[in-house]
């Protein structure tokens, strides 16, 4: 290896060395680049370059035949994007439906997984209970298993005569046909209030080619089973983050407030919760970022059906490109999704950066993540 060549002769005598070993570092420039070269090549070739290629393809009407980088491929400018947002048609309808589905998905998954994760962390952190290590592992285990394998299990659980419906039957509830049921949960709720048919005011128009009534459907029954699966698998990971935060809350603080006569709820609300505020923000934003990326579960469990009520932007972009062979439009949807996720990522980094300046003591390890803050 060239990097192993003895470096000692590189020492120059013109200046007294600032620190021992400065001369030894003479060949570090070359070594440094050689060390990072494999990673640069792989990430550059399979991450950065593809993004640029997809950006180009999103401006064309490439149909998957031959190379997209020839003059035969029609260049259409931003047409693929404008079709998605301004033209009344199937493309816009599908994208808006997928965004609606994902908004409801996010609106339930993020609060539910955060609350469940915090609840689990609080129980597992309870000093009076034994066997906590076992339960901590049990709660975390679903997070490490294959999303495809777990989806298979949940398909079985939510089958028409599956475990969930049998359980509901014990409680006297006639369970739905989960993966065939495209009815929106909000629509169902309104129906129980006597609103069976959509009021004309809501069906006549609405933003982006979807009627107000369609926007207000809520997640479909089929989507709720995917939501249940995701909340079940992700809570364990977030529980670990909450647990780490809870363990850094000084016990003395808790005891002092107990002596002051604070009730359990008051202690949680006014002592614990403020102490783990930063972690709560982290969990919420990571949840937001992650839940806009739902794909595997949709692919395995529903393929976007029934009636496109489980289609998400990620799945739609895949389907548009690889099933309808409309790569330009599919790539454009990817970039729309990219933009949505980047917004939440920036928000998260902003919040984390604020936290570091606010509370250097509590910032602990997260701080090092901020670019520039790492140079020693």
């Amino acid at each position: 290896m060239t990097t192993e060549a003895p470096a000692a002769p590189a020492t120059t005598g013109e200046r007294p060395p600032r620190r021992t070993g400065r001369g030894i570092r003479g060949n570090e420039n070359l070594a440094g680049w050689l060390f990072v070269a494999p990673v640069i090549v792989i990430l550059g070739l399979f991450l950065l370059l593809p993004i640029l290629m997809a950006l180009w393809v999103s401006l064309t009407d490439w149909n998957g035949q031959g190379s997209p980088f020839t003059t035969q491929v029609p260049f259409v400018g931003v047409d693929n994007y404008t079709t998605l947002f301004t033209e009344d048609g199937l493309a816009r309808r599908d994208l808006m439906t997928s965004i609606r589905n994902n908004i409801y998905y996010v609106a339930i998954v993020v609060p539910a997984q955060t609350a469940l994760a915090l609840g689990l962390a609080l129980i597992v952190n309870n000093r009076m209970l034994r066997g906590k290590a076992f339960f901590r592992s049990a709660f975390y285990f679903p997070s490490v298993t294959s999303s495809v394998a777990i989806s298979v299990v949940f398909l079985f659980l939510f089958a028409n005569s599956g475990a969930v419906n049998q359980l509901l039957g014990v409680l006297g509830i006639d369970g739905p046909q989960w993966f065939a049921d495209s009815r929106g949960v909000l629509h169902l709720l309104l129906a129980t209030l006597g609103l069976d048919t959509a009021p004309a005011a809501l069906t006549d128009g609405g933003p982006f080619g979807l009627s107000w009534w369609d926007w207000l459907s809520g997640p479909s029954v089929a989507m709720t089973s995917i939501i249940a699966l995701v909340v079940w698998t992700t809570s364990g990971t977030f529980m670990l983050m909450f647990l780490a935060a809870l363990q850094s809350v000084p016990v003395a603080l808790d005891e002092a407030s107990t002596l002051d006569g604070a009730s359990r709820w008051q202690r949680f609300r006014h002592v614990t919760l403020p102490m783990i505020r930063a972690t709560t923000f982290l969990v919420l934003t990571l949840g937001l970022i992650g839940s806009w990326q739902v794909f595997d579960q949709v692919y395995v469990m529903s393929q976007g059906e029934p009636a496109k009520t489980t289609i998400t932007p990620a799945y739609l972009s895949y389907r548009t490109a690889f099933r309808d062979f409309d790569y330009g439009s599919g790539a454009a949807i990817s970039f729309v999704l990219f933009l949505i996720i980047i917004v939440f990522t920036l928000l998260q980094r902003r919040v984390m950066a604020d936290r570091d300046t606010d509370a250097p003591a509590a910032g602990r390890r997260w701080r090092r993540r901020v670019p520039g803050g790492s140079s020693s």
């Binding site: 290896m1 990097t3 003895p6 570090e28 420039n29 440094g32 680049w33 060390f35 990072v36 494999p38 990673v39 990430l43 070739l45 370059l49 593809p50 290629m53 997809a54 129980i123 009076m128 209970l129 049990a138 975390y140 285990f141 490490v144 294959s146 999303s147 495809v148 394998a149 298979v152 299990v153 949940f154 089958a159 359980l167 079940w232 364990g236 990971t237 670990l240 983050m241 780490a244 002596l259 002051d260 982290l282 970022i289 806009w292 990326q293 794909f295 990620a314 972009s317 895949y318 790569y327 599919g330 990817s334 970039f335 999704l337 990522t345 980094r349 090092r368 993540r369 520039g372 790492s374």
Partner: protein, 296 residues
């Protein structure tokens, strides 16, 4: 402290009794909640295990019961005789082993350089690594297909493996770790005349065992479970990995019937390696989970 003087802590016996009763009650409640959630999180796996040994009518009639009656291994026999499961297993093993080796080696090399070596552009590179970590995987589906297609490695083992050989999160984990170990040992080695690579290979790397184990486990788990990448990098059934084959099995290329015992059994077999790893190396998983949190 005012509360203390206002309410002296000398409890009357009745009050102490009441408090003891309350502690007991809350402890019982605590265990009840713990066991309830334990069931919620583990029972699906119990159902999976039980039903994979059932006959199809039995699984359809008693999906909740963990006990097969009669017990049959017909589902498992059909997994090995009637599907391409052995092939998928082989592909998954190959991909996982190569990807894990690649990530551990390349990520730690880069992590070490970013932590210790002084070279021009280091700060910029690290910022790039951080930026890359924020790129969501699902928006790369079409882009990855494009580049593999253009390079002529779509539908090949190279396409399945090479793009996964390095990951930014792993580089980040290794860099953080290398920064936490003292420089003095390396400097001693360097003064003794060892080159950069030699110092890294025989002095630094042995000290990095905990981080290497964490990275090995994360890489193994990640590549064993990897699904979207195999979806856009291959389409030849001979190149399917386990998750891909499993997804194919479920989306109905199978004959008649729901065949749940078979599907659950296949999913179970695909889960076992990571489950074993989880039981053995739990604390590394926990650490990895928290490290993963940082990558955001």
């Amino acid at each position: 402290m005012t509360a203390l003087t206002a309410r002296p802590p000398v409890a009357t016996p009745t009050r102490r009794d009441r408090r003891a009763a309350r502690t007991l009650a809350s402890r019982i409640l605590g265990y009840a909640v713990l066991i309830f959630f334990g069931l919620v999180f583990l029972y699906p796996f119990v159902i999976q295990l039980g039903n994979s040994f059932k006959t199809e009518p039995d699984a359809a009639a008693n999906p909740l019961s963990p006990f097969a009656d009669p017990v049959t291994t017909a589902g498992f026999e059909r997994i090995f005789a009637g599907t391409n499961f052995p092939l998928w297993l082989g592909n998954s093993l190959l991909v996982t082993v190569l990807v894990t080796l690649g990530r551990v080696f390349f990520d730690s090399l880069a992590g070490y350089a970013l932590a210790r070596l002084r070279f021009r552009g280091r700060a910029g590179l690290f910022a790039a690594v951080i930026a890359v970590m924020a790129v969501p995987g699902v928006v790369l589906l079409i882009p990855k297909f494009l580049v593999l297609n253009q390079l002529g490695i779509y539908n090949s083992y190279a396409g399945l493996i090479v793009p996964l050989l390095a990951d930014a999160a792993g580089v980040f984990i290794m860099k953080q770790f290398f920064e936490s170990i003292p420089v003095s040992v390396e400097e001693a080695a360097r003064i003794d005349g060892a080159g950069v690579f030699r110092t890294y290979w025989s002095v630094v790397l042995p000290m990095a065992r905990p981080a290497l184990i964490t990275l090995t486990i994360l890489s193994f788990q990640g590549s064993w479970n990897e699904f979207p990448h195999s979806l856009v990098s291959v389409q030849d059934p001979d190149l399917f990995t386990l998750p891909r084959g499993l997804a194919d099995l479920v989306s109905g290329s199978l004959g008649k019937g729901t065949q749940y015992p078979l599907k659950l059994g296949a999913a179970l077999l695909a889960t076992i390696p990571v489950a074993v790893l989880f039981v053995v190396f739990q604390r590394y998983f926990v650490r990895g989970g928290n490290e993963g949190a940082e990558k955001g």
